[in-house]
Structures are given as structure tokens and as C-alpha cells.
Symmetry: none
Subunit: 213 residues, 4 copies
């Protein structure tokens, strides 16, 4: 993660590197036990074996702390090569669903997004450290499919970027909505259905440039 405070110090006692990790882990543990609204910074500080002061010296508040703690979760996502684009997509959908099944992700992510509705800085932080960070999966999956010949190479970089954005919002949005809003299970069958609609839709749209996809 990028440094929270931009200016490096040359003098004085350096900040404990262990404290950062302990605090983020404690934050996730508190999210599991308490959820977003009952999570308190005093409690996180106690769990991390750290004074409240130390915590406030590094993060501006609960929102920022939780975003950092949750963002680390999504770094676990990988895109192992399963032989076909459809299999790759189904695999990452199930991986994503597995993360969203963990309580620290469920309450942490949505709580942060709720706060971001009224906080531009926080919204940008989420966009940068979660959304942009995970779009790598779409980019990587497309490249692999292009190598396999499953997808044509897109010439226009603007069009390519917009397609990545659309697919990311479609897949991530569908999984989050089903898991957290509709409260329905994201199982293998559902992943297959979603993947089928998605890939057929993309393939069809590629032949029909009217919608500029």
C-alpha cells in the first residue's frame, strides 16, 4: 500500500513497521466480529496492542483505515489459466464470491462505499486502491483470450479501455449485487449462466460496432 503520510522524516524515532500490519489485521478481525457500525477505533487499537494515538497518526479515521484493510483482501484474487476464457471467468467469479462471503469484506466494503457517497476523497481512495487495482484481472484475462484466439485484438485503446470498464462493472456489480443485496448464493451454476450471457454479449457486440463496444 502507498504511504499514508507523504513526507518522510529524517529524524526522530521511526514508525514501527509491525504496527501497520497489526492494525490492518486487527481491523479485519474487528470487522468480522463487530461489523462496520460497531467497529470502534479504540477496539482496533486494543486488538492491535497499540495506543489510539498511533492509529490516528497513520490514518485520518475509520473510513480510511477500513478501505486499506479491505483492499488487501482483494489482492488475493488471481487468474489461473484454466484453458478457456469461459473457465477463466467462471473461476474468478467464484473467487470473488468467496471473498465477498467473508464478513470482513461484506461489511467493510459496503460501509466504505456508503461513506464514500458523501466524501470525494474517500471515493477516490476506493477507486484507486480497489477498483483500478483489480481491473488487472480483466486486462489479463483479455490478453490471455487474445493469445488463445478467443478474442480479436482491439486496435483503439479508448475503446479497449471502455470495454474493460464495462466488463468490470458488469461482473463485479452482478456478483456484489447477488451476494450482498439480493442475498442469493453465487454458486457454480450461476457463474456459468453469468459467464455465458457475458461472453455471448461481448462476442455479439464486437461484430456490431453500432454500440461502440
Amino acid at each position: 500500500m502507498q504511504s499514508r503520510t507523504p513526507a518522510p522524516r529524517a529524524t526522530g524515532r521511526p514508525r514501527s513497521a509491525a504496527a501497520d500490519a497489526a492494525i490492518l489485521a486487527a481491523t479485519r478481525a474487528a470487522l468480522v466480529e463487530l461489523g462496520w457500525s460497531r467497529l470502534t477505533l479504540s477496539d482496533v487499537a486494543f486488538r492491535a496492542g497499540v495506543a489510539k494515538t498511533t492509529l490516528y497518526r497513520r490514518w485520518a479515521g475509520k473510513n480510511e483505515l477500513v478501505v486499506d484493510a479491505v483492499a488487501e483482501l482483494f489482492d488475493e484474487l488471481e487468474l489461473p489459466d484454466r484453458g478457456s476464457l469461459a473457465a477463466d471467468v467462471e473461476g474468478v467469479v467464484l473467487q470473488f464470491a468467496a471473498i465477498l462471503d467473508r464478513p470482513e469484506a461484506r461489511s467493510g466494503l459496503m460501509g466504505a462505499v456508503a461513506e464514500a457517497a458523501r466524501d470525494d476523497v474517500l471515493r477516490e481512495r476506493i477507486r484507486a486502491s480497489i477498483v483500478e487495482r483489480q481491473k488487472r484481472l480483466v486486462v489479463e484475462g483479455r490478453a490471455r483470450a487474445q493469445e488463445r484466439g478467443e478474442l480479436p485484438y482491439e486496435e483503439d485503446p479508448r475503446t479497449a479501455a471502455r470495454t474493460v470498464d464495462l466488463i468490470f462493472d458488469l461482473v463485479a456489480g452482478a456478483v456484489v449485487h447477488r451476494a450482498l443485496v439480493s442475498s442469493e448464493p453465487v454458486d457454480a451454476d450461476w457463474a456459468v449462466s453469468l459467464t455465458q450471457v457475458l461472453l455471448l454479449g461481448i462476442a455479439g457486440a464486437a461484430q456490431n460496432p453500432a454500440g461502440s463496444v
Copy 2:
């Protein structure tokens, strides 16, 4: 909305009917000004010209109150006949985005979902009063397309229901994710792209029963 307290009373002063509406309106106003986390029940009570006691007599807490207040927002969604399935979908996507652009919906909806991560009763309340309630749009849109001959009639009711669920999560999820998580604008172009992928995907899947869509 269904009654909050199941048992009707035969005796004593009856509850003020006007209070309910005033409280829900005050809740939305408070969401606009303060957002989820700074919204307080004391403040809502004051805005509604009502005592805190009255509020707690009717709702169990902030979560339940906000869900009811937000649910009313989505009842504004309509499906005007624009002549084609694609136009209908694009229209409802933009309507949905317009609602999600209002601050009371942004912070209220996500805040409630965040809390629902640890509260089964609240999760069911969201599912019933928001999700199931708005699936009517998908059902209605499909019926209209079938009348127009744009979509075949689906024989198996289970398959039909699963398709409705998938499409609802896909569309609602994509719009919510783009608007609230990715923080990108949901404009007409994006709506066209989404609709194109969606309809081509559905059409393709209907010809290929493997994924049972």
C-alpha cells in the same frame, strides 16, 4: 409498506398516521444533508416534529428506518413503452441511475446493505422491500418484449425465474457498481453499451440451452 407492529390495538390513543409519513420524509432529508453515518435518530425526530420515543415505538432502529425510507424511492421507477426492448432497458437503466444519483439513495442504500452483512432480519427486509419489489420491472419488460415478438415465450417457470434473477442482478449490479463503487457516470452511451451486451447475451444464451439460461 407493511405494518411495522403486527398487533392492532383496540384501546388507548391511536397512533398518529401522519407521523409515519413525516418521519420517512425527514429521514430522507437527513440522509441528503448528513449521509448515513452522521444521520441521528434525534435529528430525524426533530425534523419530523416528533419525539424520539415515537420513532422508537415504530422502528427498531436506524437500519430499519432507513430501509423503509429508501425503499419508497425505488417505487418511482416505471417502465414506459419506448417501442423496443433495447429502448425500454436503456430507459430504466437511466432512471435507476438518476435515483442513485440522489444522495439519499447513495448513502442510504449502501449503508443499509453494509449493516445487513451482519443482520439477517435486515437483509431479508432489504430483499423483500427493495429487491423483490423491483423485479417487477424485469418481468414487465420481458412480457412486453414477448408481445412484440422480440423474445420467445419461456415454458419452464423455474428457468424463467432464474433468468429474471440473473438479469436483475446483472443490470442493477452493473449500474450500482459503476455509479457508487467505480464512481463513473452512468450516461446514455454507457447505457447503450450495457444494453447491447445484455440483449445479445440473452439472445445467444436462449439459442444455447447448455447454460440453462
Copy 3:
């Protein structure tokens, strides 16, 4: 006790006479269990099997209700003839102490006096229904002692009244202070000591008109 509301009514349903007694008894029971500050009118109404409305129709509030409930306690005081002035005084001191040992009297009386510090009407109510009412004991005891020849007859009625007041404040004050403020037992030995000082003091003062006692 005198009627709380002066105007008699000619029409409508008459007030239940039993309710008054039930309410005062319930008040004393609540004082025993809860003390002054935790006694609530809702609780008293429930104990008396009466609606809160009924209670407020008859008493202005907690203070007035408790004064009436406590005043009845002191009506139990009697002055049985024990053969000598000293014995009579000792007897009434112990009776008084016995009443002050009951929790409804302890907290009720002092609570009312505390409120009376800022409420002239309440202060007058206490003076009339408790203080003046019980001065009968001093007057009666003096008359009996004069019949026995233990005390001379006082000619001047003003002097007589001032002496009654002084003795009442002395005896009642000493007992209340020892029992409730100093928290020491009022036993037979202490009653003897008090009586001795009191009677010798009165006797001496009667011979020495300087202090106009």
C-alpha cells in the same frame, strides 16, 4: 385529609372514594421499595390499579401526593398517660423514632422537605398537614403535666405558643437529626438523656424570665 379540589361536582360520574385510599397506600408501598427519587407516578398508578389520568386529576404531582401519603403516618402518634411528664416525653420520642425507622417515612419526609426548599406552596402544605397537626402532642402533654402539677400554668398565650413551638422543634428536630442525619440509633437511653436535658432546661428557664421562655 382535606379535599384536594375544592369545587364539588353535581353532575357526571362521581369520583371513586376507594381510589384515594388505594393511591395513598400504593404511594407508601412504592416509597418503601423504591425511595423518593425512584418513585414514579406511573408505578404508583399501576400499584393502585388506577390510570395515570386519575392520579393527576387529584394531585398536582409527586410532591403533593407524597406529602399526603406521609402525613397520614404521623397520625398514628399518641400520648398515652405513663404517669409522669418525663415518661410521657420518652414514650413519644420512641414512638416518633419508630415511625422514622420506616423507610416510607425516612425518604418521603426528607424528600418532601427538600422539594419544599424551593416551593412555597409545598412548604405550607407540610407545615399545615404535618407540623401544626402534630403540635397537638406538645399541647396535650403540657396540659396533662399541668394537671399533675409538674408544670405551672402559663398566663400569656403568646409565650405559651412560643414555648410549644420551641419544644416541638427541639424534640422533633433532635430525633430527626439523630435518626436521619447522624444515622445513630434512637434508643431508650438516648430518649432518657434527651428528656432530662429538655425538662431541666424548661424548668430552669421558667424560673428565669430573661430569655422570655
Copy 4:
């Protein structure tokens, strides 16, 4: 006054010494304006320019706080040498009455005593910080009278202590009762009468050891 929290802390930010004095003064001011029952700790905190938390960190509640605030009032009592025992007693009676004429003493003292009826710890606190503390006046007055030859020296310490207790309850009780219960003025005439009865009674009892006074 004794420390409220026995354990001294070695670490953390030390408690503000100024806050204690400000809180006690604010408590007395609130008693003057509001009386016992309408005094609220929120109001006291606001007057003292202190958070409610600070107040609850130092006192268990309203009762304890008021006892401490009132106890300080009685420390103003002195026993200036007026040349004779009678004059000394009359002087202290009038001083005591002057304090009881202040509204903070009237409602504070009686309110605390009322609550003490059901609270052993509070009763002991009153006994220690008000009663025992002010018995010094009786002890000092007796010593001075013995030096003057107005009173004999008492050999038996137990008898001496019981006499101090009796006289304190007699004088304090009579003044409190006249001022607060009977609601009659404690003026110079009444002080003379009380003193006369008291001193003659003590003198008589000293010659008659039957009552062991």
C-alpha cells in the same frame, strides 16, 4: 475533602485539578437556581465548562456530588470567642441558620438526606463529611467553656462523647427543623431561648448523673 478515587495513577494524562473546584461551584450554583430535583448533571457540567464524562469519572452520581458540594458550605462555620458559653452558642446557632437560609444548603442537604434513606454508602458519606466534621464546634465550645470555668471537666471519655453527640443533634436538629420543616425564622430571640433551655438543661443534668448525661 478526601480523594474520590483512592488509587493514584502514574501514567496517562493527569486529571485537571481546576475541574474539581469548578464542578463543585457549579453544583452549588445549580442548586441555587434549580433546587435538588431539577438539578441535572448535564447542566452542572455545562456550567463548569466540563464534559459530562469528566463529572462521572470523579463522582458516582448526583447524590455524591451534592454531598461534597454542600459539605464545603459548612466548613465556613467558626466559633469566635464572644466571652461566654451562652454567647458562643447563640452565635453559632445564628451562623448555622444563615447557612441554612441559602438555597443551595436547604435543598442540597435535605435532598441528600432523603436519598441516604435508601443508600448506606451515601449515609456514611454524609455522616463523615458533614456530621463528624462539624462536631468540632461542640468540642471546641466545651473546651473553651471549661477554660472559663463555665463547665466542669468530664473525666469519662465515653460520657463526654455521648454528651457531644446529644448536644450536636439537639442544636443542629432544632435549627434544621425550625428552618426547613416548620418554616419559621431562626432569629436572635429564638436563638436566646434555645440556648437558655440547652445550657440550663445541661447544667441540671450534670448535677443529676441518673441520665448519664
